[in-house]
Amino acid sequence: MKIPLKYTLRNFQSRRLTTGITVIGIAMVVFVFTAVLMLAAGIRKTLVATGSTENVIVARKAANGEISSIIMNDTYNIIMSIPQVAKTADNRPMATGDVVVIINLTKIGTSGGISNVTVRGVSQPAFQLRPHVKVVEGRMFTWGAREVIVGSSIFRRFEGAQVGSTIKFAGDAWTVVGKYEAGGTGFDSEIWGDVTQLQDAFNRPGSFSTVTFRMASSDQLDAINKSFAGDNRLQQFEAKTERRFFEEQSEFMSIFISALGIFITVFFSVGAVIGAMITMYAAVANRTVEIGTLRALGFRRRSVLAAFMTESIIISLVGAAVGLFLASFLQFLKVSTLNFGSFSELEFSFTLTPETITSALIFAVLMGLVGGFLPAVRAARLNIVNALRSA
Amino acid sequence: MANVMIQVENVSKAYRRDSFEIPVLNNITLNVNEGDFLGLMGPSGSGKTTLLNLIAGIDRPNKGTIHVGGTDIAALNETALAKWRATHVGFIFQFYNLIPVLTAYENVELPLLLTSLSKAERKKHVEFALGVVGLSDRIHHYPKQLSGGQEQRVAIARAVATDPTLLVADEPTGDLDKNSAEEILTLLDRLNKEFKKTIVMVTHDPRAAEKAHTVRHLDKGELT
């Protein structure tokens, strides 16, 4: 015979304050847990979406990021000669050698700190390779001119990055002629210009940071890697899909944030579990007579155990719901941080995924189970006679 | 010529429960002399406990005045009233109300902590009080190690520890069996006759009423 749910629910009403406090404690833990996961997911999502699975990006094997990779012109030509590089309509390689550097710009706003911003010199095919990049305001830069277009995130947040202004770097003034949007990916946090102009300005004639090209047909990565392994001149370099490359750029950050966040949240959860335990023990102590009565009426020990465990789990689920609800508002926040992978600013949003929600709920239920278990056991083990007498 | 100890004049009291006003005492006038032993009896809800509470200074009347030992206690503020209670009244409850985490000795010592007596002086008072109630051999026991009658005796010792002139008792034998009740009443009698304490006692118990000098009845908030 099961103890009716009504019993559990009405009991909440009579101990509103301490129940409420326990719910808030669990909600706080769930909120922090979820926020951390959302942060890590947000970084990953932005960067993963940056690259396509149809493009391959080549960088120096030892390089810790695009800015520390160097590919000389002759290597570029060798790469262009491998058969897996797709061709454009006029039979030229659909490839771009990019020069990637970092410049400092000042943030708009009260703190006005300086930040690292990625500047990418590209060649014409870059826009075919990355079709999600579209100029939305002003115009595209003129090839051969000291002109740049800025990504929407930089446009919004940095001084001097508006259409018509000039940015000074490499001993020259570069005119911002347009703003582009890149669908909320990593490219939104960059500034693009003509690669030859940038090579010249940065005194890097004939060298690129990375080379990106479209695969002639999909799934040729293995073949490409074989070509690389087989050629002496290409052994210092490796090819990855663009998606995988940028995903890796986010790995360190998101693993770091997740690990740190979860490590700490586990501590919080111990605190919340203890709070839940205290509340549940008090609940049991206060209903000793009732429990004795229920048992005298014929309800079995396991029903008593189940009733109290249910109570505990309901508390934690309500707490989880509150925590998740509050955390979901974070999705409206756009935040930016220094991405360790690229060493420059990356803007992203907190992303709430179904996996995160599931994890949070499981976590909460675990807290409820652990917190409610011992008190529920105590309730179930009460001796009927003693319990009735304790009035 | 007996001195008047307690002067209750035209006192009325009503309780508020949510938005209802429940009248409990209606225009009570009562005098108690020094050394009196007064019993208050009446049916449930007659207001006898309320009257006791007012005299002991743990509640305030809505109308009227109460003078105890010459002091208008209804006019005192909370802090002054607390101080007054500490030295002028000893309260004995039906359910003893001892602090469970304190020993008998420590329970009796409680009111003395509010005075400026030194530790040694307090010890004398405590031992004396426990001696009077006949519990010198159990001073380091906790309430749960004592029987009901013994607990009540500790409570009485606590009530007399600061040597107050007035003792107030609310159904002191209500929870006790016949023999323990008898012991407690004998003790109260002794406190009244030997130690000259003025006692006001609320009771249902006719045996208890017998020990009192005077018995007044309360019914529906009025003295008869």
Binding site: I278 | I58, V101
Partner: protein, 386 residues
């Protein structure tokens, strides 16, 4: 203070509950201490900065080099004691997760501008004499079991190719605030190879380190240095070392905010746990408090009693938490390579904050029960069944 005994006894009333509360607070305070230690480790670069050191870098960003020729011009400025320079080498040792700082330096001046790196004179001489030698920090040596004479192979990325360096000196960090995981080698060795392989990149340094005579001159000298190179191909930005380090930290401001936010949440949770316990205790003792009032205890007595009990519990919890912080920090240091978090220890400020938070929580958690006990009249309290 006579009621101190009653306070203590009150906490022992429900031993399990009191124990759980103290333990819960202890864990939370430990998490707080750990968090703060992570945050302070983040700022350790800023903390370790010297007031008399300036950093001059390319004004576009630090990934662009400066010409070596600038050195003499800077050295001539009044107030400048020593000028040194470094290049960030980067590269990979074994695999990308083996991270530690690798830099090309000027052996003659590097240790002059960083006196907190302490080297035995004979080792210093050996380092200076050999072109392909390197000097490593004692903590790095311990992490990888490097000894004098070992060869460290690095695969270059910014400076491509295979490189090998012989350990000729090991420096001791002056105190625990100094990074002991760095590896320095000869700038000339780097430059020589660049001249052979990528001549366009030779003759360039990453940044200059300027030791000035008087920290008060920092702002003025910074301006003068930058003026020297205004309108040139490589304009400079000179700032105090602290400001330079702060720039790195500022980039990850979001993470620090997150950590600080978590620290607040923890304090909130502690308050909830303790508040919960105090409310329950106070509720159960409603009748008792009324009895105490009857005996003559005043509102202020009760306030002290309740607050006292709350503070005792919170301070015990805080003490437990502080005691636990050390092992947790120690565990973290064991698990995470020292070169990732070169400075990682519990600062005195962290202890002070943890302790005062515990005290504050003890006070705040008692407010509601105190208010309740003051508001409840004696008569209502005696009647309470709860």
């Amino acid at each position: 203070m006579r009621i101190l005994k009653l306070m203590f006894k009150n906490t022992l009333r429900h031993k399990l509950r009191t124990f759980l509360t103290i333990f819960g607070i202890g864990v939370a305070v430990m998490a707080f201490g750990f968090l703060r230690t992570v945050v302070t480790a983040w700022y350790s670069g800023v903390e370790a900065s010297a007031a008399n050191r300036l950093i001059t870098r390319n004004s576009v960003s630090f990934i662009f080099p400066l010409p070596l020729a600038y050195k003499d011009k800077i050295a001539k400025l009044p107030g400048v004691e020593t000028v040194s320079y470094m290049n960030w080498f980067g590269g990979v040792y074994i695999d990308k997760s083996q991270f530690f700082a690798r830099m090309a330096v000027d052996p003659e001046t590097a240790l002059e501008v960083y006196p907190e790196f302490i080297v035995a004179p004979d080792q210093l001489a050996a380092f200076k004499n050999e072109r392909n030698s390197c000097i490593i920090g004692a903590d790095l040596a311990k992490q990888y079991n490097f000894k004098l004479g070992d060869v460290i192979p690095i695969e270059g990325d910014i400076y491509p190719g295979k490189w090998e360096f012989v350990v000729r000196a090991i420096y001791q960090p002056r105190d625990k605030m100094v990074d002991g995981t760095q590896m320095w080698f000869h700038w000339a060795y780097l430059d020589e190879r660049m001249r052979q392989e990528m001549p366009g990149r030779a003759g360039n340094v990453g940044w200059y380190i300027i030791r000035i005579k008087d920290p008060k001159d920092a702002a003025q000298i910074s301006e003068e240095v930058d003026k020297l190179f205004q309108n040139s191909r490589a304009e400079t930005k000179t700032e105090t070392e602290a400001a330079f380090q702060q720039g790195f930290v500022a980039g990850t401001g979001l993470i620090i905010s997150l950590l600080n936010f978590m620290a607040f949440v923890i304090i909130g949770i502690i308050m909830l746990i303790l508040g919960n316990t105090m409310i329950m205790s106070a509720r159960e003792r409603t009748k008792e408090y009324a009895v105490l009032k009857t005996i003559g205890f005043s509102g202020s007595h009760l306030t002290k009693l309740i607050a006292g009990e709350s503070i005792i519990i919170s301070l015990l919890g805080g003490g437990l938490g502080i005691a636990l912080t050390y092992p947790i920090v120690g565990l973290f240091s064991l698990v995470v390579p020292k070169s990732w978090f070169p400075i990682f220890y519990v600062e005195p400020m962290t202890l002070i904050l943890a302790g005062s938070s515990a005290l504050l929580v003890g006070i705040v958690a008692s407010l509601f029960p105190i208010q309740r006990s003051l508001r409840t009249s004696i008569v209502d309290g005696l009647r309470f069944v709860g």
